[in-house]
């Protein structure tokens, strides 16, 4: 009895101490990270042949013709390859599985000459048939990324290593669409045939299996836990030089856990480190924090077909009433750049002469008066924000307070994205305004301007229901013109008109923050491509 009592006393003390000691641990955590452990990490690389990536979610599917989420694309881009890709860190499209390509003078026929002696991981040869089979599968499934290729009329196999794409109309950004990581990946035709069930084009099988030509192949996927890729020993790119043999994506939802793993060296990359700890983290010599410009837009879209919002003067007044600098500084810790019109700065054909809307309350009030709403009289709107998007909510609150200054009453509604998305199906049901991020699929103005502001995309991605026949005409002409200088001119004109029409408040382009161990070498950020671990190593 005495021993039991002693044991219980000890146990009790332990329980009581847990909270106290752990509390101390928390304060210890705030100390500069130059401890002995850290110094050891600096010199000794953990798991030198494995890249461990702490990711806050897992892929939804491994099928490259369906996947359209960043988690899935992360995995897919290590295993599958396309005909072309972007050169790391640039906007330049370079060959991947293709050796070279040419375009007909009318821009409707694209011929690709393929690399030889490449095999899929199931032993099937890569050739023109494989390209045709893959693209036909993508178009037949017609989900997720398929919309980017809906102009393909037919695909001809010219010979074993030459394939021809015949387009419905000249589509100049076609090469950029082929360089993006979602959709145009080539799957082994043998795998598609062998695993087809009831005419499903092997959708069921390819959801959790991968057969590509890339540097890695799937080893295991433990649902909700981790996802492991191992090197494809027969990779056509070879394994000379420095590479890692294994890539492990570990699902770590909690950002504080990701940070701890990064600090201890158990993770080489962490994808969900909050902005407010970045400064603290960057003081740790074992951790590299890299901030890069992106094309990740944040807009506050108006319903351009709703009541007073039909009047561009009302929309412009709201754009003049918004505190851009406070938003970028206060909400995004200065990790972003001010938008200058609807296109992200840095993208080809961006018009840098556009004068962005700046906060000017007097001008805003004058515009409201001209529109027949002096002092914002009677203007009452609801802004919708997606559940869980704390940043968006803060932007909405800032907007609400700014609009109060103009006499406009804004109420904020936080809803699940599935609910908002349902409402956005038509202008009648859509909210007055909503905040939304947009990440282009490829680096061509067509992917931003045509997608978001052409009346032809109303019902899909043009969720502001903005329509302007002049803009439609410019965007249609620009996507078909093979004259680069003319295209640029058309896009610049379109940007000027869209900026003046103000279908949205163009807030900012958010920076990308990469947090990784300093022993990771060879990392190159690309605004469209996901990380390619084949080009990285640990040292």
């Amino acid at each position: 009895m005495k021993k039991v009592r002693q044991f219980l006393v000890l146990l009790l003390i332990l329980i009581l101490c847990v909270s106290l000691v752990a509390g101390c641990a928390q304060s210890a955590n705030k100390a500069p990270t130059n401890s002995k452990n850290t110094q050891e990490n600096q010199t000794k690389v953990k798991n030198p042949d494995t890249m461990v990536v702490a990711y806050n979610d897992q892929p939804t599917t491994l099928d490259p013709h369906i996947a359209y989420d960043p988690e899935s694309l992360q995995a897919i881009s290590q295993v599958y390859e396309g005909l072309v890709t972007y050169k790391g860190g640039t906007n330049e499209v370079v060959p991947q599985l293709a050796e070279r390509w040419e375009t007909s003078s009318d821009g409707k026929v694209w011929t690709f000459y393929l690399k030889k002696n490449i095999k899929f991981t199931d032993g099937a040869p890569f050739n023109a048939d494989a390209v045709k089979t893959s693209f036909e599968r993508l178009l037949k499934i017609n989900q997720g990324p398929a919309w980017m290729f809906d102009m393909i009329k037919s695909i001809d196999v010219v010979d074993e290593y030459t394939v021809k794409f015949n387009l419905e109309y000249a589509f100049v950004p076609f090469i950029h669409a082929l360089a993006n990581p979602s959709g145009p990946m080539i799957i082994s035709p043998k795998a598609i045939k062998e695993h087809e069930e009831n005419g499903d084009l092997a959708q069921n099988w390819l959801r959790q299996n991968m057969v590509g030509t890339g540097p890695y192949m799937l080893e295991s996927w433990n649902m909700g836990q981790d996802f492991t890729l191992v090197k494809n020993p027969d990779y056509w790119g070879g394994w000379e030089g420095k590479h890692v043999s294994k890539v492990v994506y570990k699902v770590v939802q909690e950002s504080s856990s990701q940070r701890l793993m990064l600090e201890s060296g158990d993770a080489d990359f962490a994808n969900a480190i909050p902005r407010d700890v970045i400064e603290d983290l960057s003081k740790n010599p074992d951790i590299t924090v890299q901030v890069d410009s992106t094309v990740n837009l944040l807009n506050l879209f108006f319903n351009n077909q709703r009541g007073a919002l039909k009047d561009k003067r009302v929309r412009q007044a709201m754009a003049y009433g918004f505190s851009y600098d406070d938003c970028i500084k206060g909400v995004f810790n200065n990790l972003g750049k001010r938008m200058q019109g609807p296109l992200p700065p840095g993208m080809w054909a961006h018009d840098s002469t556009i004068k962005p809307y700046e906060k000017d309350v007097e001008k805003a009030k004058k515009l409201l008066e001209e529109a027949g709403y002096p002092g914002g009289k009677g203007l009452k709107f609801t802004i919708m924000v997606e559940t869980g998007s704390e940043d968006y909510k803060k932007v909405a609150e800032l907007f609400q307070s700014d609009m109060k200054e103009l006499g406009i009453d804004i109420s904020i509604q936080v809803l699940a994205w599935a609910t908002i998305k349902d409402m956005l199906a038509s202008a009648e049901t859509a909210p007055d305004m909503f905040i939304s991020g947009f990440y282009p699929d490829y680096l061509d103005p067509d992917n931003v301007l045509y997608a978001l502001y052409s009346s032809r995309t109303i019902g899909s991605i043009n969720e502001s229901f903005y329509t302007n026949p002049q803009v439609d005409q410019l965007l249609e002409e620009a996507r078909r013109s093979t004259d680069l200088a003319h295209r640029e001119e058309l896009y610049k004109r379109a940007q000027q008109i869209i900026n003046d029409d103000c279908p949205a408040i163009f807030i900012l382009v958010r920076d990308n923050i990469t947090t990784m161990r300093s022993w990771v070498k060879g990392f190159v950020f690309h605004p469209i491509l996901v990380n390619r671990y084949y080009f990285m190593y640990k040292e």
Partner: protein
């Protein structure tokens, strides 16, 4: 007893039908279109309708419900809108993880809470009792999320003793799937490295999850024993000259355990449901996380699957608790 069990199982079917109908109505009543979401941001009306048809959501709601029930009777819980995988497969992947975590949390909380409650009662108003009271108060009031983070800081970062999360080390393959419980599967397949890693990975999340229940068990046992200790038969036992240990553990505890048993049953069910925060902090691939994600994306089939499976477990656990009364207290007879 057999008739009683049969009647309770028959009741379960009624409960399940009611629950499935209720969940179906509620989840479909929430405004939102998960198919539009799953079709991708650029999908046009044609693509969305094609996917809706493929998933069977183009039919009227009563037809959808009847089809769901008919499929359910054949063991098919539908297809996840998000991943297009069978919900049954996903539920069976995530459920054992939560069950393993909840069972261990329960074991830890009972193993600590019960003896602590007994000692607190027998040593009333002493250092141990007061300490137990503080521990219980902390257990009842400490948010799981916070406790989990603190334990990670202490045992992972400071001491380097335990892993930060997950079910098994990334350097190891999970044991061959037999039951889905890593500890049992590693024993059955003789994979001792996996066993060690699984146990180490379980300690922090199980303690975090079980800490609140431990507080409940401690307080419940204490008050229940204190009540029993005033009974005449305890006085008789003491008068007979029985040792204090026999009096407490054989006479008092056995009589005091019934209300605690009820609480244990209820706590287990709530552990299953309340594991979501622990699962998030410790990246535990459980059904709680899966369910919350399904709700956020309005993934109807997944919501239905999680609700039904949780209902079944809840009802069965309660049944087991009810049956166990008869074994603990011979006066209870089910007819």
């Amino acid at each position: 007893m057999t008739t009683y069990i049969a009647r309770r199982i028959a009741m379960l079917i009624v409960v399940l039908i009611g629950m499935s109908l209720l969940t179906f109505i509620i989840s479909h009543a929430i405004p939102g279109d998960p198919v539009r979401l799953a079709a991708g941001p650029h999908a046009g009306p044609e693509q969305i309708e094609s996917l809706r048809k493929q998933l069977g959501f183009d039919k009227p709601l009563p037809v959808q419900y009847l089809m769901y029930i008919s499929d359910l009777l054949h063991g098919d819980m539908g297809t996840s809108i998000e991943t297009r995988k069978p919900v049954r497969e996903e539920v069976l992947t995530y459920l054992p993880a939560t069950a393993e975590l909840s069972i261990f949390a329960l074991l830890i909380s009972v193993a600590i809470g019960l003896p602590l409650g007994v000692v607190s009662a027998t040593r009333k108003n002493t250092f141990i009792d007061n300490g137990g009271r503080i521990a219980s108060l902390l257990g009842a009031s400490t948010p799981i999320f916070w406790l989990g983070l603190l334990l990670q800081l202490l045992f992972y970062k400071k001491l380097g003793l335990l892993p930060i999360g997950g079910r098994i080390g990334i350097e190891l393959n999970p044991p061959a799937h037999i039951t889905g419980f890593y500890i049992i599967d590693s024993i059955l397949s003789g994979d001792w490295l996996a066993l060690k890693s699984s146990i180490l990975h379980l300690i922090l999340p199980a303690f975090t999850l079980g800490y609140g229940s431990m507080a409940v068990f401690t307080r419940m046992t204490r008050s229940s024993i204190l009540e029993v200790l005033n009974e005449d038969y305890i006085k008789t036992a003491r008068a007979k000259g029985l040792s204090e240990r026999v009096v407490i553990y054989k006479h008092a505890l056995r009589n005091a355990i019934l209300p605690v048993m009820t609480i244990i049953g209820l706590q287990f069910a709530s552990l299953l449901g309340g594991a979501v925060l622990t699962e998030t902090v410790f990246s535990w691939p459980g059904i709680g996380n899966y369910g919350v994600h399904a709700i956020m994306t309005l993934n109807f089939p997944a919501i239905m699957g999680v609700t039904l499976i949780t209902t079944v477990i809840f009802v069965i656990v309660n049944l087991i608790v009810d049956i166990s009364y008869a074994f603990i207290d011979p006066r209870i007879v089910y007819k």
